[in-house]
Amino acid sequence: MLSCKEVGELVSQGIDHKLTLREKVALKMHLFICKTCSCYDKQLQFIARSARRLMQSNKTGQGIPPLSQTAGARINSTIKQQLDDEQQQRPE
């Protein structure tokens, strides 16, 4: 029988990678009878959903935006400038 502490660990690992069948069964059984762990499981799943939305959202306009086109263009031209300078300094 898994302890709540071990279950907490497995709940988190289940977000990161596939659990073994044995782990999955032990986890399910524990969550079925333990209210606190099942609450913890729901909260971690919510955090995982939120993180996904935060980092990958741009359609919804929420969360962390990608690099803006203006900034991207500006950085790109700085890089090109630097490359041109290099070329002029040491022509191959």
Binding site: I15, S50, Q56, P66, L67, G72, T78, E86
Partner: protein
């Protein structure tokens, strides 16, 4: 998950860097710095430093990992210059703190309150501020790890290399600690405040 197979032994054309890596670098920088114009500056500085150092690129890690490594150091330098303390929570006290949530036999020592309809928070702009702040305030090694995992641009192995994590198992343990802390942070800063926040 991004695959690292078939990566070129040599560095790609710098003119394509922004298109290839700009978003990943920017998102990492923004999560760490919480200011878009500062984050943009960091990304630019990173690319310029990489440009100078590109002939030393060894190809031991992917190009993206290499770039994020440079960015990570730039951000550390930036904070050092501006005397902002990084969240250098001692690793030992951190694991002790979290162990206190469980009894020696592994039972919960804290009471968890159910979060009512949590996904509704996603529609609330203020929630995202709190959530990002909770991530930024994780101890640095956990924040870096959590952010890089969620950006989903680097493989597990690349992240371990970049952050000096010795085994993937250590990485799962660290992520579990990060999530536990995020849970505690959201619990106190959002879910148990929600009703009181009528203004």
């Amino acid at each position: 998950m991004t695959s690292t197979e078939g990566r070129p032994a040599t560095i790609s054309d710098p003119a394509t860097w922004v298109a290839q890596h700009g978003d990943a670098l920017f998102r990492y920088a923004l999560m760490k710095m919480r200011d878009s114009s500062q984050a943009e500056d960091m990304v630019q500085e990173t690319f310029l430093a990489a440009l100078k150092a590109r002939h030393n690129f060894s190809g031991q890690s992917s190009e993206k990992t290499w770039l994020i490594g440079i960015l990570k150091h730039k951000i550390i330098d930036h904070f050092r210059k501006h005397k902002r303390e990084q969240n250098s929570d001692d690793i030992e006290t951190l694991s002790e703190q979290l162990d206190q949530q469980f009894s020696p036999r592994g039972h919960w020592e804290i009471t968890l309150t159910h979060w009512q309809d949590p996904d509704r928070a996603h529609e609330n702009e203020a929630f995202w501020k709190v959530f990002s702040a909770c991530i930024t305030h994780l101890p640095d090694h956990l924040a870096d790890l959590f952010i890089l995992r969620e950006i989903k641009e680097l493989s597990t192995e690349e992240i371990c290399k970049l952050l000096d994590i010795s085994t993937t198992n250590n990485m799962w343990v660290m992520l579990s600690r990060a999530r536990m802390r995020l849970r505690n942070c959201l619990d106190s800063r959002w879910f148990n405040q929600d009703n009181r926040k009528v203004r």
